[in-house]
């Protein structure tokens, strides 16, 4: 049984999957050997390294099918077939790990990028409609890679859901071509004793627009990174996070936008609710390259702390390498005000009802990118039935 992932194991895996040399090189471009030893640490000691190593490479069986990807009417190619078609292979070769730095930076994504067993290419058609991208993991501890390509000028809504057993690690890279519009809603659900590791890359071309709403909830471990790259003029990337961490949840959230060129725009906004003994580490990065003149970036992280034992750890970074930009950030944390509780109770509500009402409205601003119907759905996901139960006087 293999107990660690090294260059040799990745080579063996790539050979077993009959991959061309360039795909092996892609794997190695994001692999950092030191990441393997850090895997347990960055995932809050849940011991992912040992689990991944032992499950994926047990008895040299590299043919394990870790995950299935479906996406309505979009064309979904497993890498088995994609790499055999010249045009598709060129597409994968061009965009896969185009910006590897952030993938290498986090141990789980580095290992996943190097050792994924299932790779998919999803070609979104030129249609103004909603697609549901579903990644279903069939095996415990699977590692999946998915490249989603939007054609130029497409206007697409994507609803991204991951169904996985206890532990799953996935890298999803979205290519938003010139003048395309991506509206993405992502659902990240970590039940107690579950671990979900997600790395999203968003590559926005000239005049492209990506509006991303990420809803994260649960009592387990979530390591979620979303990195946007504004590659060309007038590209715009907006990322909103709505986070509800309860019980012993441990969330490691990263949202980043890199402005690589002039006149690009970004906005990162998060509303986070922490209860019980949940711990949320949220790192936000806005990076303005020396070529990003005339760009603007903004990030704001706001937290509502519902328990004296919850831990909130915001790190909003700015890295600005040119002067002709507008960039700012802010962080605030607060608890439910006594005044509000008092007023609610004077109107006959219980403490639980007041809290549920407040949380419900607290998420509104983080969900402003999506339709009211979607907002309702996301809130239901974030809060479960809590709100309805709280409203119900019989409850």
């Amino acid at each position: 049984m293999i107990t660690s992932i090294t260059h040799n194991e990745i080579q063996t895996l790539s050979n077993a999957l009959a991959e061309p040399a360039w795909l092996f090189d892609k794997r190695m471009s994001v692999f950092d050997q030191s990441a393997v030893s850090q895997l347990g640490d960055q995932s809050y000691g849940i011991g992912l390294q040992a689990r991944y190593s032992s499950s994926l490479f047990a008895d040299g069986d590299f043919s394990v099918s870790g995950a299935l990807v479906s996406c309505d009417e979009a064309k979904v190619y497993h890498f088995d077939s994609a790499i055999k078609e010249k045009k598709l292979a060129q597409l994968v070769s061009r965009y896969m790990f185009m910006r590897p730095k952030e993938i290498v930076a986090k141990s789980f994504s580095s290992v996943t990028g190097a050792a994924f067993t299932d790779g998919y290419l999803v070609m979104i058609p030129q249609a103004d409609k909603e697609f549901e991208l579903i990644i279903t993991s069939q095996e415990e501890y699977a590692m999946t890679y998915c490249l989603v390509v939007l054609p130029p000028s497409a206007t697409v809504n994507v609803r991204e859901t991951i169904h996985a057993p206890k532990t799953h690690s996935v890298i999803i890279e979205y290519v938003v071509s010139e003048s395309a519009r991506l509206s993405l809603i992502a659902f990240e659900d970590a039940k107690a004793d579950h671990a979900l590791c997600i790395h999203r890359t968003i590559l926005a071309a000239k005049n492209a627009n990506a509006s991303v709403t990420i809803a994260t909830r649960g009592e387990g471990v979530v390591s979620s990174t979303t990195c946007g790259y504004a590659l060309d003029k007038d590209a715009s990337i907006i990322i909103h996070n709505a986070i509800h961490a309860t019980a012993r949840a441990m969330f490691d959230i990263v949202t980043s936008v890199v402005h690589e060129t002039a006149h690009t725009h970004s906005k990162l906004f998060a509303r986070e609710v922490l209860a019980d003994v949940a711990h949320v580490l949220h790192r936000g990065n806005i990076i303005m390259s020396p070529l990003a003149q005339g760009s603007d970036g903004y990030q704001k992280q706001e937290a509502l702390l519902l328990s004296p034992r919850a831990r909130y750890n915001p790190v909003p970074n700015l890295d600005i390498a040119t002067h002709d930009v507008t960039c700012s950030h802010g962080v605030s944390a607060t608890k439910l005000s006594d005044m509000m509780s008092f007023y609610g109770m004077s109107r006959g509500l219980t403490c639980e009802q007041i809290q549920a009402l407040y949380i419900d409205s607290y998420f509104d601003e983080a969900l402003s990118l999506i339709t009211p119907q979607q907002q309702f759905e996301v809130k239901e996901f974030l809060l479960g039935l809590q709100t309805q139960e709280a409203y119900d006087p019989q409850h």
Binding site: L305, P308, R309, R311, P316, H323, V325, S332, A333
Partner: protein
């Protein structure tokens, strides 16, 4: 102080005296040099053991890899101990002419006469001048050279020196400091005594490839008040210098300490300094820092608020010009309930300089009903310059009110246009906007120092337009 009506120039700070040292260790730090420093100062055994423990830790610890690039700093080339050819005096007349001239150029004796309650002047590794106004010594205020304090107040120093505030294993440069420290200031303000006039120490590094490791230990007893000012400068050589000082401040119950420093080391100096305060119930620590010089600065004054109602206010300004990386910020750890902290950091980057704000605020579970406000603003004067903001916050209780804001931008064209329409040149207009930008910091300094800071900014801004 200097004649502020005339334009300053860098020569004032970067002029080098001839080397008249009476003892100069060979480059690099070794156990032998550590023992030499200790024996030269006739130190007690416990201090030698502390130095040796620091040295042993330093040998086992790698250089930090985060923050600014320190690869060009060769610790084996630094001269860790240089004794000037003079003894400490309490009369400027007894200080050797050349050294006195240097301090006169920097305006220290004049400032002592006009606005200070006491002055210490350190030249390389030794304090060459020290004095305190009689009315303060009569009230029991102790203002001493740190080396002298080890001999005169051993119990007090043993209790507070690199124990609970900045332990010797804190980080790589504190380990070096523990091994090689020399000179610095010891201040004790007795209960209830308010020191009306500021006390000042000025640190001057003259030796080629020199290192300065002064130690400042301030104990403000219950209900006392103190304003302490530090200034620093060094000549510019073609070899790197290292400044790794340490400041430990104990703010006892209901005491108040304001610590101001204007660091103006030459641009080949690595300024890797450590400043920390332990603040008890109702105590207040105020940090005012102006970082103008140095090639690389890593400086994050820290406050540990361990008594109920303790407060920390930190004001910082960093100016990063060509070839400079100013990595500055502030740290606050709230441990006790009802504690309060504010951090205001401003930076200006010019000619490709890099200004980084690196902050850390932690509110422990015990620090209920505390509040934190952090504000950092950065001004970029040209397309080559860089601004970085890395604030980290950790809240471990819900009963906290926390707000953080940061803005990065350039000077607005409208502001410059308006000022130019009132008859100013573009350079004057830019200087005026920059002066307004740093006003909150300047306002908190005594007038003479505010003028010096303004003049330094003006000096750095010269030629910024056109």
């Amino acid at each position: 102080m200097n004649d502020f009506s005339t334009t300053q120039n860098r020569e004032l700070y970067e002029h080098a005296d001839a080397d008249h040292s009476r003892l100069k260790s060979r480059p690099g730090l070794s156990e032998e040099i550590v023992k030499l420093i200790s024996s030269q100062k006739n130190e007690p055994e416990w201090m030698l053991q502390k130095r040796l423990a620091g040295f042993a830790l330093h040998q086992k610890t790698a250089m930090p890899t985060w923050g600014p690039n320190l690869t060009a700093l060769n610790l084996d080339e630094i001269v860790y101990f240089v004794r000037p050819d003079t003894q400490e005096a309490s009369d400027w007349g007894k200080v050797p002419d050349e050294i006195k001239k240097t301090f006169e150029r920097l305006g220290i004796p004049q400032a002592e006469r006009e606005v200070l309650g006491g002055v210490g002047a350190q030249y390389d590794s030794d304090v060459v001048y020290h004095s305190l106004k009689k009315e303060l010594s009569d009230k029991g205020v102790i203002f001493e050279n740190m080396d002298v304090a080890v001999q005169k107040y051993p119990e007090l120093v043993k209790e507070y020196f690199m124990t609970q505030c900045v332990p010797i294993n804190d980080h790589k440069f504190i380990m070096i400091h523990a091994a090689a420290w020399s000179g610095g200031t010891f201040i004790y303000v007795p209960k209830g005594v308010k020191v009306e006039l500021p006390l000042q120490a000025y640190f001057r590094m003259n030796a080629y490839a020199g290192g300065q490791f002064e130690h400042t230990l301030i104990i403000a007893d219950e209900g006392s008040e103190l304003h302490y000012i530090e200034g620093c400068s060094a000549p510019r050589y073609n070899s790197n210098s290292l400044h790794a000082g340490c400041v430990e401040i104990f703010v006892k119950k209901n005491a108040r300490v304001r610590y101001s420093s204007i660091e103006n080391w030459s641009k080949n100096t690595y300024n890797l300094n450590t400043k920390r305060a332990l603040v008890d119930e109702g105590g207040v620590i105020e940090w005012v820092n102006g970082n103008m010089g140095s090639g690389v600065t890593m400086l994050y004054p820290a406050s540990i608020l361990r008594g109920r109602g303790a407060r920390s206010d930190s004001l910082g300004i960093a100016f990063a010009g060509a070839g400079q990386h100013q990595d500055t910020g502030s740290k606050v750890i709230h441990v006790a309930p009802e504690t309060k902290s504010t951090i205001t950091a401003k930076s200006i980057s010019k000619d490709g300089g890099i200004a980084s704000y690196r902050g850390y605020v932690r509110v422990a579970p015990t620090a209920i009903n505390s509040s934190v406000a952090v504000e950092c603003d950065a001004l970029l004067l040209d397309p080559q310059s860089v601004s970085q903001t890395y604030p980290t916050m950790l809240l471990e209780t819900d009963a906290v009110d926390m707000a953080h804001e940061a803005r990065v931008g350039k000077i607005g064209d409208e502001e410059i246009f308006y000022l130019m329409s009132r008859g100013m040149t573009q350079e004057q207009a830019t200087q005026m906007v920059v002066a307004g930008f740093i006003e909150p910091i300047v306002k908190s300094l005594p007038l003479e120092y505010a003028l010096e800071l303004n003049k330094l900014i003006e000096l750095e801004m010269e030629g910024s337009v056109g």
